[in-house]
Amino acid sequence: MALQKVTGVSIRGIGACVPATKINNLESAVFATPEDAKRFVDNTGVAYRHVVNKSGICTSDLCVAAANKLIDTLAWNREEINCLVFVSQTPDYILPATSCIIQNRLGLSKDCFAIDISLGCSGWVYGLSVISSLMTTGNFKKGLLLVGDTTTVTKSEKDKSTYPLFGDAGTATALEYNPAAKDLHFHSGTDGAGYEAIIIRDGGFRNFFTEASLQYKEYEGGIARNNLQSELNGASVFTFGITKAPQSVKALLEFAQYNIDEVDYFVFHQANMMMNDKIRSKLKIAAEKVPYSITDYGNTSSASIPLTIVSRLQAQLAGNSKTLLACGFGVGLSWGSVIFNLDDICCTGVTEL
């Protein structure tokens, strides 16, 4: 099993930024009738979502805004930040790597390790695994993990099964080398056999962009989309999520030798309410230990775990030491869980851009 223990790295702060444009799903034109809209909101939990719309805002813009506020609140010297990991599937360009552009925009030292990672719903957990592994030796003292997506840009407005489910967000997590930090424990999993469960087929190097990429095609259930838009096999992802997420959490608890009662909060990727409730009840976790942000922000892909922490747990975390378990699962298929401690972290909340 892919299990890891990482020592000597602590999370110092987390912040998030969302686009200012807020959509009320009950009033969304994507649904044929108000009853359809209500049923969707009741089942998925997604009442509101923040979207970039056609503003041109990129994931990097949201992450940079969140990072600037976090760095300033922590009163960190930007010259001392020499490790930057950016996780997203909505980068600025095909090349160069967005992390390089962000290094400059944030005014970080040129003596900086910067790397992009392409993962979605599992992205924050994997990003945390990578950056903490890089920092564990003490060679990097201060690091930034920037994670987010603007997936609404890739959804077809003629696809009522995906279009109203997603929201956009960028997040920043500040990490520091600290030999006294509590250990981080990770479990990771991958199943590429399911790569087509969530996919954008054209525009990469397997299938180049062509004029045909723009042509809308009709699918079952009144769905239409083109090959530059994301395709989501809801039932496959659902069965995957309700199976793998509980398994991963159990494997991690056993490895880290924690029992469920010793974890203060379980933060799951915000996939949809039906799926998340199912995962929670399978693990028999009390509802008050499982915060949700999906009602106000939708499924925000890789940003969902840190966004849930800052939007729902800010008051509980201030001045306290809490043990959290986070679990991300989705596109890849890729999944991962982490147990970590948050000790009086700087939580800069959710800002709007």
């Binding site: 099964s161 809801g234 039932a235 659902f238 069965t239 199912k278």
Partner: protein, 74 residues
């Protein structure tokens, strides 16, 4: 088992004012859609402890076949 299964599907799809039959082609129900599919997968997992893969539903047409699949997967 059959009665209980029919009741489960009826409740899950929020079907009112009629009874279901085991030979029904459930995908023809007006209440059936992508959300209904997820609800049915979740309800079957809850009741029988079996997760029916989403792809399996392509080959399943009647409630009888769905019940067979549950029994096979147990």
């Amino acid at each position: 088992m059959k009665e209980k299964f029919l009741e489960l599907i009826k409740e899950t799809l929020e079907i009112e004012g009629r009874e279901l039959a085991i030979e029904d082609k459930f995908k023809d129900y007006e209440e059936w859609d992508s959300l209904g599919l997820l609800s049915v997968i979740a309800a079957i997992d809850e009741e029988y402890g079996v997760v029916i893969e989403g792809n399996k539903f392509k080959d399943i047409e009647t409630l009888d076949q769905l019940l067979d699949e549950i029994n096979k997967s147990k």
